[in-house]
């Protein structure tokens, strides 16, 4: 990890520690929690799409598995929340492997549609066979540490962003080392990867599982925070929303996922004025980002900063 990343992480950590205390506005804290949760899924998707070049339109499926599995395990089986989250992540990983083995032989559009199909099938399964069916269910245990349930949203915000920061560190470390280079090489030329002895299939499956685990953790956090979930939160619309976050922020860097997630999560607030236009505005944002901000906000901004610095040093 470069110095720039470390500094940015430290600043972010400082902000995370102080912000919840600085405001009494519980709505702000709620937004902070949701943007953190979305960011966790988004950075996983960034790694999958930006580094490895694999598409997924089905992340909401793993998000949903994480939410439902963790809820059921902690509510019906009495497992501690942390253990439920880990088990849910394992289940999501398993689902990812089952999907990945056949799907990752596909390329481009076919892979995109296969992941879309998978996400939708999970949605339908949750709708038909999940506890409570389409209406969902509640009374999901809150996040707790050492037996103490977290009722103060500020604490939940710290946990969510704490996990997010840890995952950022993990991801940045991984991306700057051998596995990250392998993923980017995958995106560059599979032929050359094979010629250099990389096991392409294994890499693709691993990165797919990684993104599924991130999504699952986020889903579990979501479920234990809102304490009531229903299948409508885990539909294609959400997979597309996630896609929007990473496209807007920039898929080539995990910072892009984070920034994109924060922006898109805060968006409904600014859109309050445009009641019936929200779908349209989402679509326009996505379209305009693709047309004009192709690389995403974070790479464009950091690119500008770099060239400014270079001009000063020259």
């Amino acid at each position: 990890m470069t110095k720039g990343h470390s500094i940015a992480l430290l600043i972010l950590a400082a902000m995370v520690c102080t912000l919840p205390n600085m405001t009494d506005d519980s709505y702000f804290i709620t937004l902070m929690i949701f943007s953190g949760i979305n960011a966790i899924v988004a950075i996983g998707l960034c790694i999958l799409m930006g580094s490895a070049g694999q598409v997924s339109l089905g992340q909401a499926g793993f998000y949903g598995i994480g939410a439902y599995a963790s809820s059921v395990l902690s509510q019906s089986f009495g497992l501690p929340v942390a253990a439920s989250m880990i088990c849910a992540a394992v289940i999501s990983a398993g689902a990812a492997v089952i999907l990945a083995v056949p799907a990752l032989r596909l390329k481009g559009h076919y892979l995109a549609v296969a992941t879309l199909g998978f996400g939708e099938i999970i949605h339908i399964i949750l709708n038909e066979f999940g506890p409570g069916g389409p209406s969902g269910f509640g009374d999901i245990p809150a996040l707790s540490a050492g037996g103490f349930a977290m009722t103060d949203p500020a604490h939940v915000a710290w946990v969510v962003w704490g996990i997010l920061l840890l995952l950022m560190v993990f991801s940045l470390n991984m991306l700057n080392a051998r596995p990250g280079r392998a993923l980017r090489a995958l995106h560059g030329s599979e032929t050359a990867c094979n010629a250099m002895g990389l096991n392409v299939v294994s890499l693709k499956i691993k990165v797919f599982v990684l993104s599924a685990v991130y999504a699952s953790i986020a889903g579990s956090l979501y479920a234990h925070y809102v304490s009531f979930i229903s299948p409508s939160s885990f539909s294609l619309f959400h997979s597309v929303l996630l896609l929007m976050m990473v496209v807007l922020g920039g898929i080539t860097t995990v910072w892009g996922g984070l920034v994109g997630a924060v922006i898109i999560t805060l968006l409904p607030e600014t859109l309050k004025a445009f009641q019936e236009l929200d779908v349209l505005v989402y679509g326009l944002i996505l379209t305009l980002s693709l047309l004009f901000l192709r690389r995403g906000i974070v790479p464009i901004v950091t690119g500008k900063i770099h060239s400014l610095l270079e001009r000063r040093n020259a």
Partner: protein, 255 residues
């Protein structure tokens, strides 16, 4: 080092390779030549595992490699470069070489994410080895350049450097001089000879540039229309009538 036996490959109705056999001696600098369409690239792709032959077998260091994936073959010590550059364009020069170090390292996703101590020392070691390779191919000044920004000659060198990073016993070079000018070709030739003599890497070179081939190789196999028509030392090949006919046509129609 490499034993090619009775390789046949048919595409639709075309016999790209017809019962071709030849050997590459340990530590030699061998070449595979022939006019366009002779089947040289097909042979390269079969040896490196990208294509499977319809008949015949190939052994490498005594072990049969026909039917193995190209990744497995690479891990056994056989590396290659490509006629149409297959660099990782969006990665830097140094990173391209580092990917070559993949099979010589072990940091996995979990270990790297947690930045365990052995990961740190492995990264340092790989960086050092990669910089050394870059120095030997003359690209250390451009280590942070994007690979796609390099001129063709340097991209060719980078591909060779990346293949070197895998510490191969046998290096397949697929038309490395294509598109290079005379000076670049000469430098390339010197580099290939150095790899062969100083690093003791066996080389199998597929090339069109006869000057280069005759100058640096010690053993040549000639293909024409998928069949082997001659093999031997450069001097013998230059005098071989079948070879001359293959390249220039029948004597009566030659201008």
């Amino acid at each position: 080092m490499l034993d090619v036996r009775n390789i046949t490959k048919v595409f639709g109705g075309v016999r790209a390779l017809d019962d071709v056999s030849f050997s590459v001696a340990d530590k030699s600098l061998s070449a595979l030549i022939g006019p366009n369409g002779a089947g040289k690239t097909t042979m390269m792709n079969i040896i490196s595992g990208m294509l499977f032959p319809d008949q015949g077998s190939i052994s490498f260091k005594g072990a049969v490699i026909t039917g193995l994936s190209s990744a497995s073959i690479a891990r056994m010590g056989l590396s290659r470069t490509f006629q149409h550059i297959e660099l990782f364009g969006e990665m830097t020069v140094l990173e391209n070489i580092l990917v070559g170090r993949y099979i010589k390292s072990r940091s996995g996703f979990l270990a790297a994410g947690l930045r365990l101590p052995f990961v740190r020392s492995e990264e340092k070691e790989n960086c050092a080895k990669s910089l050394e390779i870059l120095a030997s191919i003359g690209l250390e000044g451009k280590k942070d350049e994007l690979a796609s920004n390099l001129p063709l000659g340097e991209q060719r060198m980078l591909e060779i450097g990346r293949a070197l990073a895998t510490e191969p016993s046998l290096l397949l070079l697929d038309e490395p001089a294509a598109g290079l000018n005379i000076r670049e070709t000469r430098d390339l030739g010197k580099m290939i000879v150095r790899l062969n003599t100083e690093r003791e890497i066996t080389i199998l070179l597929v090339e069109h540039d006869m000057d280069l081939v005759m100058r640096i190789s010690t053993a040549i196999t000639v293909l024409n229309f998928g069949q082997k028509i001659a093999s031997g030392k450069p001097a013998d090949i230059q005098r071989n009538r079948d070879v001359i006919t293959a390249y220039l046509g029948e004597e009566d129609t030659a201008c």
